[in-house]
Assembly symmetry: C2
Homo-oligomer: 335 residues x 2
C-alpha cells in the first residue's frame, strides 16, 4: 500500500519496468536517455494522445487497469486508421505523490495486456509528479512495409461518389459511459444485463488493427477512426477530402445492447456518441466490395452508411430523406 | 487576445500548424490520424519528457516562447546523450480554456526556432484541456546510420579506470533559476549583469548534438546528459555500469558568472544543481584524448573531472582528498 512519495520515482520505475517486461527488439530499454532499436526501412507512422483526469477519464468510473489498456488502445486505433502495424509505445505519466504504487503498476499491467495482444511494446517513458489532475500521454510508432507508404489510409483521399462505410457498431461506448456516469436511474433506464454490455463496450474498445491493414491491402485509401462521434469525425474527413457526405440514419450499425436499451435515442447515440474507435472509410464501389469481402475474411462486420458527394457539408437523412439534426455532433476540447 | 474557449480546439490547431511550418520530409502531416514518413534503415532512438507547470516550470518566471524552446531542448539533450541526430518531435499539450491563443502560438514559435536550429521537425501532436496545471509532453525520435547502433552512447558502458568528463560548465542553470525564483535579494545577492547571465543559462540551455555525435564517432561508448544534477546523474551512470566514481570538486567546470556571483557555493551548485544539459561521459584514457580533440574541433569545452573506479558509490573529493557531502544531490520527483 506504499504511496509514490514512499517508493520514490526510481523505486517506481524499477517496478514499472518489471511490469512492462523486456524484449529483444530493443537494443537499449528503460533506464537510459533514450530507447534504441534496429529500424528496417519502412513507411513509418507516429501518433500521440494525452488523456487528462476529469476530462478523458474518471477513476471513479474507470479502474487503473482499464485506464492503462485504454490509453494504449486509443493510440493503436490511430495506427489502425492508417492501415499500419504498431511497433513501440512511449508512455509519460503525471501522478500525485499520494497515489498508491500498486495502482500505477495495475495501470501498466493493463498496458502490458494490450501490448502482448497487439505486438506494440512499451519502450520507455517518463514519470513525473502533478498536484491535481493525473495526466497520461502515449506516443505510438507503427509502420507499413517499405515501398507501401503510398497506400497509407488518409483522411484526404475521399472522392465524391465513394461508398462511405464503418466497421463494427456505433453508439455503445457513449451509452456505456452515460450508464457509468448516471447509474441505472438515468434518462436511459437500462436493464442490468444490457447496462453491463454497454459498460463493457466503453471499457474495452475493440482493436481494428487487422481491419485497417486489410482495408489498405485491398486498395482503400481513405479512412479515419471514429473517436469524437461519427458526424463530427466524418466532417473532418470531408473537410480534408474537399467534399461532403450523405449518411442514412437507418443504416447506422447500432450496438445491439444500445438498440434494446434505448431504442428511441439509439440512432442519436450512434451518430454523435463518440469513443467508438471503429474505422470510417470511403472507397469507390469496386474497392468497397473488395473491402467488405476482406473484412468478412478477418471477421469484422462492416456497413455501408452513405456516400461522399461533391456538395459540401454532412447530411444525416431519415427514411423519408428528411435531414435530421442531432443536438450534439462531437467534442471540442476547449468549448 | 482570444482565449482557447473562443478559438476552439480546431481553430487553435490550424494556427499551430502554421507556426510549426511544413516539411517535405513528411508524407502525412498534422490533421490526419498519424504523421507518416519514409524511414530509411537506421539505428533509431526515442525519448519522451513530460513537463508540468509548478513542478518543471513556472510561467511567472519562464515566458511561453522560452517554455516551447526548452520543452524541445530537454528532449534533444537526451538524443545528444545517445550520440544520435534528431528527426521528428511529437508534442502534446494540456491547456486551460482561458489560456490566450497567442500565448500558445508563442510557445510553438519557441519550438519552431529550435526546430529550425536542430533539424528536428514537429510532426504532430495533441491539444487537450486541463483544469489546473498546464502539461507539455514531447517525444523526439532520432537516429544513427544503419550499422552503427552498437556505437550508441549508453549509461551502462562505463568501466573502472575510465576518465570521467563533462562538456561545458555546470551550476549556472540552477543558480539562474534561483535568481529568478528569489530575485536579487536572495541568499545569493547577485550583481545585475551576472544575474542576467545566469538567467540566460537557465533560459536557454546549449544544445550538445554536435558534441554527442563527435563523442560517438571517436569511440566514446558511455554518456548521459546532466539534467538532475551532476552527482545524482553520475550515480545513475555508475549504477548502470556497475562501478563507482571519484570526482574532484576543484576540477568541476564552474560557469564564470556563477563563480563570480557566489564563489562560496559555486562548487555545490555545480555538483548538485541540475538542468545543466551538458554531456557527462566516461572513456578509457586514449579515447578520452581523442574525445577532447574532437570536442575542441566542434568548439565545445570539456573537462576531466575524475575517474570511474571499481569501488561502488560516488565520492566528491576536495583538494586534500577529503570527501565532501553536498546537502542536495538531485531531484526525486515524488520525494
Amino acid at each position: 500500500m506504499a504511496t509514490l512519495r514512499e517508493t520514490g520515482e526510481f523505486g517506481l520505475i524499477t517496478k514499472l519496468a518489471q511490469t512492462i517486461g523486456s524484449t529483444t527488439r530493443l537494443l537499449v530499454g528503460i533506464g537510459d536517455d533514450a530507447a534504441a532499436w534496429h529500424q528496417p526501412a519502412a513507411g513509418m507512422v507516429a501518433t500521440t494522445d494525452m488523456l487528462v483526469e476529469g476530462n478523458h477519464f474518471d477513476l471513479a468510473l474507470t479502474g487503473w487497469h482499464d485506464l492503462g489498456w485504454k490509453a494504449l488502445a486509443v493510440n493503436l486505433s490511430d495506427i489502425a486508421a492508417m492501415g499500419a502495424s504498431p511497433s513501440f509505445a512511449f508512455v509519460s505519466i503525471g501522478l500525485r505523490p499520494e497515489t498508491r504504487a500498486e495502482d500505477v503498476i495495475d495501470l501498466y499491467a493493463g498496458m502490458r495486456a494490450l501490448s502482448d495482444e497487439s505486438g506494440c511494446f512499451v519502450g520507455g517513458g517518463d514519470t513525473v509528479s502533478v498536484r491535481s489532475e493525473i495526466v497520461l500521454n502515449v506516443t505510438v510508432l507503427g509502420s507499413v512495409p517499405v515501398g507501401e507508404s503510398d497506400t497509407l489510409l488518409r483522411r484526404d483521399r475521399g472522392r465524391p461518389g465513394d461508398v462511405l462505410a464503418v466497421t463494427g457498431t456505433l453508439g455503445g461506448s457513449a451509452a456505456g459511459l452515460r450508464v457509468l456516469q448516471r447509474g441505472f436511474s438515468s434518462s436511459i433506464s437500462v436493464a442490468p444485463p444490457l447496462a453491463a454490455q454497454l459498460i463493457e463496450v466503453h471499457r474495452r474498445p475493440q482493436l481494428r488493427l487487422a481491419a485497417g491493414a486489410a482495408l489498405r491491402r485491398v486498395g482503400v485509401r481513405c479512412a479515419m477512426d471514429v473517436s469524437d462521434g461519427l458526424l463530427a469525425d466524418l466532417g473532418k474527413l470531408c473537410a480534408a477530402s474537399g467534399c461532403g457526405a450523405t449518411v442514412h440514419a437507418a443504416s447506422l450499425p447500432l450496438h445491439p445492447a444500445l438498440r434494446d436499451a434505448d431504442p428511441e435515442h439509439a440512432r442519436a447515440w450512434a451518430a454523435a456518441g463518440g469513443e467508438d474507435y471503429e474505422l470510417l472509410f470511403a472507397a469507390p464501389a469496386a474497392v468497397w466490395r473488395a473491402a467488405a469481402a476482406a473484412l468478412a475474411a478477418v471477421g469484422v462486420p462492416v456497413t455501408d452508411i452513405g456516400r461522399l458527394n461533391a456538395e459540401r457539408g454532412v447530411r444525416l437523412l431519415d427514411e423519408r430523406h428528411q435531414e435530421l439534426r442531432p443536438a450534439q455532433t462531437g467534442w471540442d476540447h476547449f468549448a
